[in-house]
Subunit: 223 residues, 2 copies
């Protein structure tokens, strides 16, 4: 059989099978929905501070005030805000997310990065080696970061029980499907498993705005 | 057969067919690659003016100066820029794209829309009924648009010859695949066929930044 003939045959078989599956699709989707859906939260630009930098920016023994809880247990945004400064521009009112971390980390979108004039890599939280430099201005002082600015990768937090239920493992890359007039599939979504995590997908504002996601939606995990 | 049994059966058949197709995938992709790739351009926020508004903003008989050609024959961005004003903020230095059109049209991203405080619909170019209001400020006057602001849909311009080659028709919705660390599939990409069009996909800055697209890349059209 020629390559063209084989291709035509496979496509015909695939289409026939797909039609058959689709014909029973509503039933299947209804049966499976609760297993495949993941709530999503949109992360605006924010900063996690290390102890030393918190002291420089806000003064010794400063206590941060909770603004509101975020989707992960024990994590919260603070009333306090800082200004971040890049070579091209600066952005004010960047929220601090507590509690303090080992190393200061700034998470921005590519849109922010272009405006600020920096070129941060797409990274997991905490993986900061060689990430972009940026200056942070607080009420009591400034910090020039040599590294620490990233574009957070698309990721899904979940408990070990959720991971078992979804049939995925820590660090696995999955796809996530979004409905709507700007729908699509996100590739390269990282599974992050910990017993400290609640089930929630985190995306930045670029992904949210490109796909028409407001947050609070349920998206479909595809392995 | 139970619903569960049928589901298991269909999934097994689908997976077997997919495996079979995948086993021949490299051969098929190599055969088809040159037919499936589409160059992409990123549209920053811009405005098309109608005659009446051009006169109010720039004065009677004003002649616009070409900044540079854009990807569609006869279309060009101008040296002249305007300010657009929404309820929450304004944006300066918004490029005019010539020649003049029947109705003034402003194309912005969702990120821009949130910042400006407007809620434009996702639309084809020219489909402006009930689209968002916005104010435009030029050097000679202001225009309060009751409608005209949209988020342009993802679309691919092509000639009738290209459409034949790709096996698609005008207004057809296709998918486009993007590689890279923020890769994925865009759904709902509209095919637009005209003998005035050069082959080019147009996306806004949100889609570009979400998918890590700079422009000039070749993306894969999937029917």
């Amino acid at each position: 059989m020629t390559v063209e003939g084989r291709e035509t045959l496979y496509r015909a078989i695939r289409d026939a099978v797909m039609d058959e599956i689709t014909a029973h699709g509503i039933e299947l989707v209804q049966e499976q929905d609760h297993d495949l859906l993941v709530p999503v939260s949109v992360s605006a630009r924010h900063i996690h501070l290390e102890q030393k930098h918190a002291e420089i920016l806000f003064g010794k023994n400063y206590t941060f005030t909770k603004h509101r809880d975020i989707s992960q247990p024990g994590q919260y945004s603070c009333m306090e805000q800082v200004t971040i400064v890049g070579p091209k521009s600066q952005m004010e009112r960047v929220r601090i997310v507590a509690p303090l971390r080992k190393q200061t980390q700034i998470e921005i979108s590519k849109t922010d990065a272009i405006k600020l004039g920096v070129n941060p890599p797409v990274r997991h939280s905490g993986d900061l080696k060689g990430s972009a430099p940026l200056t942070v201005i607080g009420p009591k002082g400034n910090v020039d970061l040599l590294e620490g600015c990233i574009i957070a990768d698309r990721h899904i937090h979940m408990s070990p029980a959720d991971a078992k239920r979804f049939g995925v493992v820590n660090h696995q890359k999955v796809k996530v499907e979004i409905d709507g007039e700007k729908g699509g599939l996100m590739y390269g979504v990282t599974i992050r498993v910990s017993d400290r995590y609640a089930l929630d997908m985190h995306i930045d504002t670029d992904d949210a705005n490109a796909f028409g996601i407001k947050g609070q939606e349920y998206l479909t995990l595809i392995k």
